[in-house]
């Protein structure tokens, strides 16, 4: 009999990286649906375009790295990265911008560091930050929600959106479908108090419901992931709590100049970040305690950048900054092992 000799264990739970990725994609569906309903077809087109690009770029770079192509493509991580980038950028982003973004995310942000599991930074956030700094105009041309464009169902038609993305559209067309986001309004309110800014802007007073709905959809997806144990509660909850606490403190202290906590939690990319971006296991901290620190720090950073920084939404930069700090957090938040009195600090061994 030809018997094989292996190390234990000899049975495995039916779980795989591809499974995990599929669950994440499933959890993103409510959010994508909400974005399509309120903001038009742009998001879906971007997702499809970005996914195709991601697969293509990954295949090429795997070939160049002399790795088995199909084996690595089938784990679905490239598609998830592409999807996260696609929902983060404005729906009307031109095709070449998405191309640059996906290239940076897959090739520079992931494979040049060693491929899956080796990247220190979240690839989608690397791409987003690069795009934001390189193409500020396109990256700030956000779509207005349909409620503002008169009564009834009026989002940009599918073909028109396609044209806008792949060919150019004239500025008038853009003007009718794009506008500021709530965070933009608050950021650029000038000397007005938040109360006055709210009353003055139609986006804030009438259209805020759309953003609330999208955030709620991301939250639903996040709860699904928690239920299926794909992510743990530590990072998302601590980020949301930290952000809520910071904003409550400042709002309570001076409501005229600071936005209220609900605003912070429900606009921008907060919910998307909390459940889908900071929970990327490769670039976040390892232990549960570490994740709490990681999440809380991101929450605080988001608040700081939104309130005093130059950019309206600080999620990408906050995440990138904490990715830098993740190894350090790991060294100092090791769990206490069985049989030891205290958790060990430091890495040990020769420097």
């Amino acid at each position: 009999m030809s018997l094989i000799r292996l190390s234990s264990p000899h049975v495995y739970k039916a779980n795989s990286t591809a499974n995990v990725m599929r669950l994440v994609m499933l959890a993103m569906l409510p959010g994508i649906l909400a974005m399509t309903v309120f903001f038009g077809w742009g998001t879906v087109i971007q997702i499809i375009w970005a996914s195709l690009l991601a697969l293509g770029f990954e295949a090429v770079i795997l070939k160049l790295r002399k790795r088995p192509v199909l084996f690595h493509l089938s784990d679905g991580s490239a598609i998830v990265t592409a999807m996260l980038l696609a929902v983060a950028i404005p729906p009307f982003a031109p095709w070449w911008m998405t191309l640059v973004g996906v290239f940076v995310a897959i090739v520079l942000g992931k494979h040049l560091y060693g491929g899956l599991g080796q990247n220190p930074f979240n690839p989608a956030m690397v791409a987003y930050a690069l795009l934001l700094i390189s193409f500020p105009v396109e990256m700030t041309r956000w779509t207005t929600p349909f409620v503002l464009n008169g009564d009834g169902w009026q989002i940009a038609p599918f073909l028109d959106t396609l044209k806008a993305i792949f060919a150019a559209a004239d500025n008038l067309w853009y003007d009718s479908f794009t506008g500021a986001t709530p965070l933009d309004e608050i950021r650029h309110r000038g000397g007005l108090t938040t109360e006055e800014a709210w009353r003055q802007s139609t986006v804030l007073s009438q259209g805020i419901g759309a953003w609330h709905a999208v955030s709620a959809a991301w939250l639903m997806g996040g709860i699904f992931l928690l239920y299926r144990k794909v992510i743990t509660w530590h990072a998302p909850i601590s980020m949301l709590l930290a952000l809520a606490l910071c904003s409550s403190m400042f709002f309570g202290f001076d409501p005229d100049n600071y936005a209220d906590p609900f605003f912070h939690l429900s606009t921008g990319a907060t919910m998307l970040a909390a459940f889908f971006i900071i929970t990327d296991p490769v670039s976040s901290a390892t232990s549960n305690r570490g994740r709490i620190v990681f999440g809380a720090s991101i929450g605080i950073l988001i608040f700081i950048i939104r309130t005093w920084g130059n950019y309206p939404d600080g999620v990408a930069f906050a995440v990138l900054l904490m990715n830098l700090a993740a190894p350090f957090i790991d060294i100092y938040t090791q769990p206490r092992s069985y049989g030891h009195n205290r958790a060990k600090k430091g890495q040990g061994g020769k420097a």
Binding site: M1, S2, L3, I4, R5, L6, S7, R67, P68, L70, F71, H72, G115, K350
Partner: protein, 198 residues
């Protein structure tokens, strides 16, 4: 003009102050000998075989402290080279083939039928691992033998063999799992390498 002179004077005074401190420190905290040599020596395998070209491990350690290459020790192998590279913050180069290759650990064995009791091997052994006296039978104490094979040359009747240490249940080690995603798609299954056909 006065600012320039003041600046120069201040810097001069600072230099004097720090010079005095350094001078005092160099006398007060002087370390006898070169501790780096001890550290290097503790990493070398102590077989005292001379394959590196130096008469023993300590002379080689001193040479390394003076800039000698770290890749001359075959009994230490690549792991010793890497440890030395770590310690000295230099690059870990592969073992210098000129000095011999890293081989399986061996111990000496004297064929007693042929031993003439000349004590030449006893004088050659750097760790006194051979038991015997003039005109008496010589034998190797296996636990002390480092496998340096300095005893093989002097024996006039060539009765010493170097026998590889065999793997038994007590000294068997788990092998490292095969390297991951580089090859695996082509050889399906981790067990392929260890498959035995009976």
């Amino acid at each position: 003009m006065t600012t320039v002179i003041t600046a120069i004077l201040i810097l001069f005074c600072l230099a004097v102050v720090f010079g005095v401190i350094l001078g005092y420190a160099s006398v007060r905290f002087r370390v006898e000998g070169n501790p780096i040599v001890d550290q290097i020596d503790s990493l070398l395998p102590q077989t005292q075989c001379g394959q590196c070209g130096y008469p023993g491990c300590r002379p080689y350690a001193e040479a390394i402290a003076n800039g000698e290459a770290i890749n001359k020790c075959p009994p230490g192998g690549q792991s010793t080279i890497e440890a030395l590279a770590d310690l000295l913050d230099v690059e870990a180069v592969p073992l210098d083939a000129e000095h011999g290759e890293e081989q399986v650990k061996k111990v000496a064995f004297i064929r007693e039928d042929e031993c003439i009791g000349c004590t030449k091997c006893i004088q050659a052994c750097p760790v006194d691992a051979i038991l015997g006296a003039a005109k008496q039978m010589h034998t190797v104490i296996v636990d002390e033998c480092t496998g340096c094979d300095l005893c093989v040359e002097p024996c006039p009747v060539d009765c010493i063999d170097m026998i590889p240490v065999e793997t038994t249940i007590t000294n068997w080690k788990w092998p490292s799992p095969t390297e991951s995603s580089s090859l695996i798609a082509t050889d399906r299954g981790r067990g392929a390498e260890q498959q035995e056909a009976h």
